[in-house]
Amino acid sequence: AQSVAQPEDQVNVAEGNPLTVKCTYSVSGNPYLFWYVQYPNRGLQFLLKYITGDNLVKGSYGFEAEFNKSQTSFHLKKPSALVSDSALYFCAVRPTSNTGFQKLVFGTGTRLLVSP
């Protein structure tokens, strides 16, 4: 079965510093990986995805993620954090079965807190 692990419940970083939010996955076959962000009382917003190709994926709001097949990881990164980046971040994987279509399996989320 496909699964996603986000080992940190919360990540704290000072504004201007680089940030990393960790994600590891377990999936049979090639993974399709996604990051979404959720602001309070809002739905999830798409940040970026890895389907194939370059291991470094660039997304919205200056975020990027690095796919590492040997470590089965897809960590989210940003060179310089903003206070407005404070939110809940979810990593997700799409199952590779033909019937899965875009059904996503989400991690439990990591709360990012950026202090001024």
Binding site: F101, F106, G109
Partner: protein
């Protein structure tokens, strides 16, 4: 509309009552998903529609849960005889091309259901 619209935003139901949650997807979007997000957890898949056809309902937790999308646009998630464990945020998401793995999901802001 510009995004996925869900109503009501908040719903309080007494145990045993039936509820109906509405989702209005982005116009023209073929794929529609329902997810359940318990407090402090990531979203969990409930069901998937392609146009009016319900192609996957493997995530519905019991036969008290029922979803429909009769005309391939608006969808309703119905929960009969609500129980306290049904308390969660119910998220609707839509996506444009059918069967395309790359398209991101566009989420609504969710309906927060509280069963007392």
């Amino acid at each position: 509309g510009a995004g996925v619209s869900q109503s009501p935003r908040y719903k309080v139901a007494k145990r045993g009552q039936d509820v109906a949650l509405r989702c209005d997807p982005i116009s023209g979007h073929v794929s529609l998903f329902w997810y359940q997000q318990a407090l402090g957890q990531g979203p969990e898949f409930l069901t998937y529609f392609q146009n009016e056809a319900q192609l996957d309902k493997s995530g519905l937790p019991s036969d008290r849960f029922f979803a429909e999308r009769p005309e391939g646009s608006v969808s309703t998630l119905k929960i009969q005889r609500t129980q306290q464990e049904d308390s969660a945020v119910y998220l609707c998401a839509s996506s444009s091309p059918a069967g395309t793995y790359n398209s991101p999901l566009h989420f609504g802001n969710g309906t927060r259901l509280t069963v007392t």
